[in-house]
């Protein structure tokens, strides 16, 4: 990894360096704006760290090959943007179903379709949660600075290895193309988590029998455990068993291993929320404008705070539930889309507070003034609550 120290670094570069620091030694990708710099940085750096990279023929192949590399025992990553992320949905599902640790970076740009290739948006939030077919439990980080791209890429690998799943880093064009101070800590200060390995002999090993944390130890290909891995509904042996009982044994566990370990996984930041009456909910690049908006609104006499989910999924639902019952009157969700996380916030308040949306269609982030204008309008009762 890089020498420890303070660097002036682009977000995408910080992401690639975070991956290398986390032990990523396999990368497969396909060029796409605004994520290509991750692939470029990896190709520049991997000879030095004895990593393997492949520039694949498309994103379908990129994600399929990182799943293969993960089963070969490598920490593996791919990076893309919306159009490529859409192509990855089938093997995102395969990775979740087969409990394959790996990291997928999605640097969001304007959509739908080819949309705004060079410009920011946050339209893929629900796709990370619901984009693949079937019921899944997912972990998605939303960093808001190059420093967080470095730190949370390491964390994403650790979470992927610990809970055995593909973890998504949901960056956006603004954060990924921003150049800022990044502190690279000494190697010994970086926590690295590796997947649990089976302790029993091959004949006693059931590859999909979970421990108490609901995560099964993982034998890599070549370890002599002769594992069978399938995207079909499978029993603890890993054998396909296409029936309701096996489905009910498997799929709820895949969801529960995230849900029941939420205390360990969930992360959010709060700013000036102690005495707040109104709370802005924002993530990624927009959260930076929202911090400024909190200060500006407070200067104008509004008691405003900020809740910033760092894991978008799992979502801080209990925290919002509690806030709505502890005196917060209004939630204002500022996001660069036409309303995605706002549905979550509204659901979590359960009607105990009003939920409003400050939408933006992509191309740029909200200005702090724009968010403050919304706060003032809410205060005057001028904009309807989101539901109306």
């Amino acid at each position: 990894m890089m020498e420890p120290g303070t660097y002036f670094m682009e977000g995408n570069t910080a992401c690639a360096e975070g991956a290398i620091a986390a032990g990523c030694r396999f990368f497969a990708g396909y060029p796409i704006t605004p994520a290509s710099e991750i692939l470029e940085r990896i190709t520049e750096r991997f000879p030095e760290v004895h990593g393997s990279y492949l520039q694949m023929e498309d994103e379908l192949a990129s994600i399929a090959s990182i799943l293969g590399a993960s089963w070969a025992g490598k920490k593996a990553m791919t990076a893309t943007s919306g159009p490529g992320f859409s192509l990855m949905m089938e093997n995102y599902g395969l990775g979740l179903m087969t409990e394959t640790p790996c990291v997928i970076v999605n640097v969001m740009r304007g959509g739908p379709s080819t949309g705004l290739p060079t410009m920011v948006a946050q339209g893929d939030v629900n796709q990370t949660r619901w984009g693949t077919h079937g019921d899944v439990g997912v972990v998605v980080y939303a960093p808001s600075s190059p420093q967080e791209l470095f730190d949370y890429t390491i964390k994403a690998f650790n979470t992927a290895e610990k809970y055995r799943l593909p973890v998504v880093i949901l960056s956006d064009e603004m954060v990924s193309h921003m150049t800022e101070k990044v502190e690279v800590p000494p190697k010994e200060e970086i926590e690295i988590v590796d997947r649990k390995k089976p302790e029993e002999d091959p004949e006693d090993y059931l590859p999909f029998r979970p421990d108490d944390d609901l995560v099964p130890p993982m034998a890599n290909a070549g370890d002599g455990y002769s594992v069978h891995v399938t995207g079909l509904t499978h029993d603890e042996k890993g054998h396909p068993s296409i029936d309701e009982r096996t489905q009910n044994m498997l799929v709820p566990r895949l969801i529960d291993k995230i849900r029941k370990n939420c205390d360990d996984i969930l992360e959010y930041d709060e700013y000036k929320i102690e005495d707040a009456e109104k709370v802005i909910v924002a993530y990624g690049s927009v959260s930076r404008a929202a911090i400024e908006a909190v200060d500006m609104a407070r200067e104008k006499g509004y008691k405003v705070g900020l809740l910033r989910p760092k894991t978008i999924w799992p979502f801080p639902e209990e925290r919002i539930y509690d806030l709505a019952r502890e005196g917060i009157d209004d939630f204002l969700v500022a996001e660069i889309n036409f309303g995605q996380i706002v549905y979550e916030v509204e659901r979590c308040t359960g009607g105990a507070a009003q939920t409003y949306l400050a939408p933006r269609m992509g191309g740029n982030i909200h200005t702090p003034e724009e968010i403050v204008d919304r706060i003032e309008a809410i205060d005057r009762g001028e904009i309807p609550a989101f539901k109306e």
Binding site: F26, A28, F46, P47, E48, H50, S52, L54, M56, E57, D58, L60, A61, S62, A64, S65, I66, L67, G68, A69, S70, W71, A72, G73, K74, A76, E90, N91, G93, L94, N220, A221, G222, D223, G224, Y225, S226, V227, H228, V229, T230, G231, L232, K237, H239, P240
Partner: protein, 304 residues
């Protein structure tokens, strides 16, 4: 001497010996390589997949590659189920993506002798792009394509290898697309080893599979295979036996054939099926090439 006696594999003594050695349940000569609790398989009577899997496992056994260093990757479809029966590290992945998955597996651990075992629709329709690029890169693994001329598992629909005039579930009025000539696709994309056999050519197929396992680089074997349930019933090949007879009577071994000239004649159902090993050349593999470039890069950077 009865046939049974001449093949000691099938003798009760052999089975007992296998049981004693603890290498299998003694029910099948290759049971060391099979997941006994997954048998019986799901394939239809008359299907060629058993013949092909048997040939692959015999090749594996003869090649002395330890099972723990072997991996099988399959896509979706009847052939895709092969991965579920072999007692090695085996992966049954998404439709069409067996090749890129295998690419990651092999590049991630080059000691794994990796074989992709899948069907014509999986490898050449939905997965066609991955096939040509893996061949171009010359990643070191083998691809066995079971070509049964249709999508068997979903009910006999036309696919990229279906002869033009064949009636299928999705060509009720006859077909109108040109099928792929698979050896030509493989050779054109850069495969270093290309062969075609039918399920009638068990011995040649087994030899070819062994060669492919031992070959460095991207090797490709097409195996034409009966599908009485999905394909044969509509084209006059209602049983596996009838298809085998068709293969026997209509195939011609010609190792010197130019792979671009071995397409089936769509106008003539009884035209010759040219089989043989068409390409066997040496070329640096993906990992050799990359290793060299990375080595130079490290020299330039002054790192080890």
């Amino acid at each position: 001497m009865s046939i049974r006696k001449s093949r000691d594999w099938f003798s009760p003594d052999y089975q007992e010996q296998e049981r004693d050695q603890g290498v299998g349940h003694g029910l099948h000569p290759l049971d060391k390589y099979l997941r006994k609790d997954r048998i019986p398989h799901i394939w239809c009577p008359g299907c060629g997949l058993g013949v092909i899997l048997n040939a692959y496992l015999r090749a594996l056994k003869d090649s002395d590659i330890p099972p723990e260093d072997t991996a099988v990757v399959s896509g979706i479809g009847c052939s895709g189920r092969a991965a579920g029966y072999v007692d090695v590290d085996s992966f049954h992945v998404t439709h069409g993506r067996a090749i890129p998955f295998a690419t990651g597996l092999k590049v991630g651990n080059r000691d794994l002798k990796t074989t992709v075992f899948s069907g014509d629709g999986d490898l050449f329709a939905i997965g066609g792009n991955h096939f040509i690029h893996a061949a171009r890169r010359n990643v070191d693994f083998n691809v066995i394509c079971v070509n049964n001329f249709n999508y068997g598992m979903t009910g006999g629909q036309a696919g990229p290898t279906t002869p033009t005039d064949a009636e299928t579930s999705t060509t009720p009025w006859g077909g109108f697309e040109q099928p792929f000539n698979l050896p030509a696709v493989a050779a054109g994309a850069g495969a270093v080893y290309v062969a075609r056999w039918t399920t009638y050519h068990v011995e040649q197929l087994t030899d070819s599979l062994k060669e492919a396992l031992e070959k460095d680089g991207f090797s490709f074997i097409e195996v034409m295979s009966p599908c009485p349930t999905g394909y044969g019933r509509k084209v006059g090949l209602k049983t596996g036996k009838k298809t085998m007879k068709h293969f026997k009577e209509n195939s011609e071994i010609d190792p010197d054939a130019d792979p671009t000239e071995v397409a089936l004649d769509p106008e003539d159902p009884d035209s010759k099926i040219i089989v043989g090993k068409f390409v066997d050349r040496d070329a640096p593999t993906y990992q050799d090439e990359r290793g060299e470039v990375f080595e130079k890069a490290r020299e330039e950077m002054g790192v080890e």
